[in-house]
Amino acid sequence: MAIRAAGLSKSYRIAHRAAPVTRVTEAVAQRLRHPFRRGDYEDFTALSDVSFEIPWGEAVGIVGRNGAGKSTLLKLLTRITAPTAGRIELSGRMGSLLEVGTGFHPELTGRENIFLNGALLGMRRNEIRRRFDEIVDFSGVERFLDTPVKRYSSGMYVRLAFSVAAHLDTELLAIDEVLAVGDAEFQRKSLAKMRDVANDGRTVLYVSHQMQTVESLCTSAIFLQHGTLQLQGGVSDVIERYRGSYEEYAARETQARKGLSDDVPRILEVVPTSQTFSVDDDKLVDIRIGPTDDFIGTYFVSAHLTDANGNVVGQCDSRLVGRYLDADREQRLRLSIRHLWMKPGRYSIDVFVCASGILDSWEGSATFDILPSLPYPELTSPEATGHGAVLLDFDYEVHA
């Protein structure tokens, strides 16, 4: 077995005060006032009693909704944070690509950053030396090796960072959605690299929202929900279960909303004006937010548009259009999303009511479908629209 986890749990302590204590004086004052109190803490369990075994040579996709514990699990496996209970056995070095480019320093040159970053990721000096040329080749920035990376374009920066990470020779590799970086050509290279790693008999863990990538890259998958492991098995079974959980969740949430108290402005209703829109329609959504007497002042609203795979397509924050709402009466809003060609498929809307923090949130408050007919003048094979998160209103002009 490459990885064996048994009874793994992680809980965070959340302070029940308006602001956490970040000053020594406050901490001391508090201790003096209440010498015996342990503090108003609540344990938030991000992961509870997760056990699994992963054999060598597998590429395992870890999927689940936001907050299901995917990233926490990866952080535990890569030792960024320590478990509260349980035990992990890793039969080899674990390399991580949690976020490409952490550890890069803008003032250092490309060459210096390769060595610094390589060391941070756990490579030995000889290892970095041996693979130096390969790393540089892969990134395609050899001409700028002695230029500080702050002068790089963001594309070059990401490519260099990714190549360092991709040349890690660890037996285990953890990846958190970094393949979404760079241009199409570089993404293709990166995917191929990941496949090589798994084919070498090494083990890859891959956390992602992008089901296409999980499908094409992984040999098995794990589905997490509310911090517990729901299913470990074949990729297609797990993805089916994951998609199903989305609709289940929305239905349950609507039911649960009815019992909430009204000490903050509550989102009562989120209804698209139509269950279906065409790609190039303006998408209109009606939102109703209840009044409250306990909250004084104004709040704002933010709505996130999420596709069927959990990618956030866009955010509509009412501050950007100068809308602040009074809390003491009921508010009826119409959100209109204009000039966006959304890809055909099912979308859900997450709505947040915020003032200085989040007052109320409703993830998956409503769904609508975008019809499959395309607004382009010509029809062609599906691969012509296969890439990208949205469709673009574009044209080619040919100059003689």
């Binding site: 970040t22 000053r23 478990p83 941070l120 490579m123």
Partner: protein, 272 residues
């Protein structure tokens, strides 16, 4: 193939030495980064290292030597304060750079795993480099002023080591505590500033009135500075009890600093 077992951390633990040794490359690269960053895009570069104690010594000579007329055990005042500043800068340099290092590198701490203790610990490399550069000029000054410390100079590495242990111990603890309580960032430079005047840096212990002497005798930095001056200027050696005290206090500070650091370390990524 090495097997790694991850379990919840205990309340008190010492660092994993094998792991630290495995990550020595990180230690060196951090040190290299600090040095490179400090002198890149500065107009006079390494000169700053020499300029700083020189100017401080010059100002001290005027204020304490000329105006206040404090005693320096018969050593030329400028030389006396330059050498003292060397020792003091070693101490304050480690403390001032180690303490904010974790907070400054929070992106790393929350995203990549490596022994976190290397972040504050690696700051000693650039401080040692500064010390060596300034020491070279110090030796030039000794020759110019015709001061020969004799055989006592051999003890210098010992004093330097003690000073490093003491300041690193404090620096480790301060860096770990600062992750949770950011006001350490404001308090510490202020304490270091007070320490500069409360420690016989710009004057010798002889200049201290008898009734306050006890406070100076309890300050480990005053023992270490007396030792450094003995080794470089040939002034009176520190008494034996201070020698023993220096060893015990600096080793103790380093050990305590390690424990405090380890105690806080388990929650870094969650708090930062």
């Amino acid at each position: 193939m090495s097997k790694v077992v991850i379990t919840p951390p205990g309340r008190l633990s010492l660092p994993h030495w094998q792991e630290l040794w495995g990550a020595r490359e990180v230690f060196l690269r951090f040190g290299q980064r600090d040095v490179l960053l400090r002198y890149r895009q500065t107009a006079v570069g390494v000169t700053w290292v020499i300029l700083q104690p020189l100017v401080a010594a010059g100002i001290f000579s005027i204020i304490f030597g000329r105006i206040a007329g404090l005693s320096t055990d018969g050593v030329p005042y400028f030389l006396f304060s330059y050498i003292s500043m060397l020792g003091w800068n070693l101490f304050s340099g480690v403390l001032n750079r180690a303490a904010p290092s974790l907070v400054a590198n929070q992106a790393l701490v929350s995203k990549v795993f490596f022994p976190r203790i290397l972040v504050p610990a690696s700051t000693i490399l650039s401080v040692i480099l500064d010390f060596v550069v300034a020491l070279v000029l110090g030796v030039v000054l000794l020759v110019a002023f015709r001061v020969n410390p004799g055989i006592a100079a051999l003890a210098l590495p010992f004093w330097v080591l003690c000073t490093l242990c003491l300041s690193l111990g404090l620096g480790l603890a301060a860096s770990a505590i600062m992750v949770r309580y950011r006001d350490v960032a404001y308090v510490l430079p202020w304490l270091v500033q007070i320490g500069l005047y409360a420690t016989p840096v710009a004057y010798s212990l002889e200049a201290v009135p008898e009734q306050y002497r006890i406070f100076f005798d309890l300050n480990p930095m005053s023992w270490l500075l007396t030792g450094i001056r003995w080794s470089l200027l040939g002034t009176a050696p520190p008494p034996v009890w201070q020698l023993a005290g220096a060893v015990i206090v600096s080793a103790g500070a380093l050990f305590a600093g390690l424990l405090v650091f380890q105690r806080f370390e388990r929650s870094f990524a969650d708090v930062i």
